[in-house]
């Protein structure tokens, strides 16, 4: 569950078509060619582990969300009561807004930076490109905790950020204590941590575009921006949408950065959905457990709904074949 899904292949994987064909072709496999026993033994460890630590907790979450858990009096069935509480809670909706705002601050910026960087790296020589790829990826392996601690220091009154501002005779600004500035300030390490992988994925996609397209466009007199707009972007559409969806689902679930940097403050300005749920779970009031479980399930629904809409948009419009 701790694994980042970012390396997971998208829906358009190269082999998807082949495997689907293979499956259909093999439906009529004669029984003696089947390997039921071996196959079950091979998938057993995975199936059992997922069952205990993913599937059961999910079912249990849904079940518990319909009960009021009280450690003193036992639990009572309350139906969908908690769903109403959560949906009527302004704090829950506020956290969703914070999560959406955080996603809006990070995801587009990350993708634009990554696209520019990837286009630039593509023009470099082999060795320079290898060097840049490593450089760009380096922040990605730094932990969110280290980045949080580091940026807390950068944002102190005497920190680097205020020193840079003072160069243009501005500031000092109280970054993490200003409700207006705190979330954008947290978005900066968020982008810094995430743009590396995005750049590498976009670079891989860029390298797949045949050079002849650009030559043709150049012959037709297209400049850098015209080529970007008419050749690169249309061909990258699927990758970009994939990056938007995965970027969004990761961004709206951000918890480590605000947990360490601000713990949701000032005045709840950085209380992202997961942080809100996490903190209600640690709350001692008797309703807290069911309440936070319900909130986490509703967040799942919100994320799922938004991703489904975006994926539908991708599917409805076939890619231009490169």
């Amino acid at each position: 569950m701790a694994l980042t899904p970012t390396l997971a292949p998208g829906p358009q994987t190269a082999d998807a078509g082949r495997s689907a064909r293979g499956r259909r072709g093999r439906v009529k496999t004669p029984p003696h060619r089947r390997d039921n026993r071996t196959a079950y033994l091979m998938i057993a460890p995975m199936v059992i582990l997922l069952g205990i630590f993913v599937m059961w907790p999910l079912v249990y979450s849904v079940y518990l969300s319909t009960y009021e858990i009280n450690f003193y009096r036992g639990s009572t069935f309350v139906g969908l009561q908690f769903y109403r509480y959560v949906l009527e809670s302004p704090d829950f909706w506020h956290s969703i807004v914070v999560g959406l705002y955080y996603s809006a601050l990070t995801v587009p910026a990350m993708i634009i930076i990554a696209l520019l960087l990837a286009s630039f790296i593509k023009t470099l020589s082999r060795r320079a490109a290898a060097f840049m790829k490593t450089t760009v990826y380096l922040p990605t392996v730094v932990s969110t905790v280290v980045a949080s601690v580091l940026f807390v220091l950068i944002y102190q009154d005497e920190g680097v950020a205020n020193w840079l501002l003072s160069l243009i005779s501005f500031g000092p600004v109280n970054w993490l204590n200003d409700p207006q500035l705190a979330l954008p300030a947290i978005a900066v390490p968020g982008i810094w941590l995430g743009f590396g992988l995005t750049t590498l994925i976009l670079l891989a996609a860029l390298l797949d575009i045949p050079e002849s397209y650009y030559e043709q466009a150049a012959l037709d007199g297209a400049g850098f921006f015209a080529r970007l707009w008419y050749v690169t972007l249309p061909l990258l559409k699927n990758v970009l949408l994939y990056l938007f969806v995965t970027g969004f689902t990761l961004a709206i679930q951000m918890i480590d950065l605000p947990l360490i940097m601000t713990n949701g403050g000032p005045s709840e300005a950085t209380n992202t959905p997961n942080l809100y749920i996490f903190n209600t779970f640690r709350d001692v009031t008797p309703y807290a457990t069911s309440y936070s479980l319900t909130a986490s399930l509703l967040l799942f629904v919100v994320i799922g709904a938004i991703s489904a809409v975006v994926f539908r948009l991708v599917r409805s419009d076939k890619a231009i074949d490169g």
Partner: protein, 273 residues
């Protein structure tokens, strides 16, 4: 200056600029580790210390809590990585090559967890591991995350691309499925194993929320847990905190530098297009 020379100079300048701005926070972190207690946040700002002192690095490297956290996390990460590669590649092979009853169902079952947000099951997972008596053990850090739909999917994609001919020849020679997996597939799995192994290792090394929920035993404190609570536990000794953060980032950075080309290629194998 010829246009070509101009272009090359401009590229070189850009490379330097980007490198400096991307790596600035990391460089500043490493250098702040050499500063005295009150020097890290001093006005006016200074990038380099007045005097390079090694006390912070030496002190933190001698601090038994820090070294224990590093050691425990490192050992856990190695076991976690090995276990997850075994479990996920076995399932990946079965899904790539074997035909069995209910394959479709189990496929969806194994891949679906990729789409379940961590928070939706975090709280009940916590209850489950509590019931199983796993709190404050290494097992609670390692076992729950071992099976990974994303990792299995990735390795399966790779196995699908293996030629079937060699395998059929081995079958005719009487090799079992297990032998084929062990003798034909595993030896050729270096590329996906490195990519996914690094992902597993990083996920374990950088984990924060799960450890602070499940580990209270100081003997098992994880490295990120140590750093994340450093400020409340020891006050604002920024220089030492930066030295500790730098040391804690070193293993992952080294790992990246060693396996750098696999990561770049791995992004391509995964076929995101």
């Amino acid at each position: 200056m010829t246009p070509r020379l101009f272009q090359r100079t401009a590229s070189a300048v850009l490379v330097v600029l980007i490198t400096v701005s991307v790596l600035f926070p990391l460089a500043w972190m490493a250098i702040a580790g050499f500063k005295g207690r009150n020097e890290v946040l001093r006005s006016p700002f200074q990038f380099f210390p007045d005097m390079w002192r090694f006390d912070n690095y030496v002190d933190i490297a001698r601090d038994p809590e820090f070294t224990r956290a590093m050691g425990v996390t490192f050992a856990g990460a190695l076991i976690f990585t090995a276990l997850s590669l075994v479990v996920n590649s076995l399932a990946a092979y079965a899904f790539a090559r074997l035909e069995f009853r209910g394959k479709r169902f189990w496929w969806v079952y194994c891949v679906m967890p990729m789409f379940i947000p961590m928070m939706a099951i975090l709280l009940t997972s916590f209850m489950v591991v509590t019931k199983l008596g796993m709190l404050n053990t290494m097992a609670v850090l390692i076992i729950p995350g071992v099976a990974s739909g994303a990792q299995m999917f990735f390795i399966r994609q790779f196995y699908l691309g293996f030629p079937v001919a060699v395998e059929e020849a081995a079958m005719i020679d009487g090799a079992s499925r297990w032998q084929i997996f062990l003798k034909l597939f595993l030896p050729q799995s270096a590329a996906p194993f490195v990519v996914m192994g690094i992902a597993s290792y990083l996920a374990f090394w950088n984990a924060y929320v799960w450890p602070i929920l499940t580990i209270t035993d100081p003997n098992l404190t994880q490295i990120m847990q140590f750093l994340g609570t450093f400020r409340s536990a020891r006050g604002n000794d920024w220089g030492m905190l930066m030295a500790g953060s730098t040391l804690a980032s070193l293993p992952t950075i080294l790992l990246l530098l060693v396996f750098q080309r696999f990561i770049v290629n791995g992004v391509r194998i995964s076929g995101i297009k």
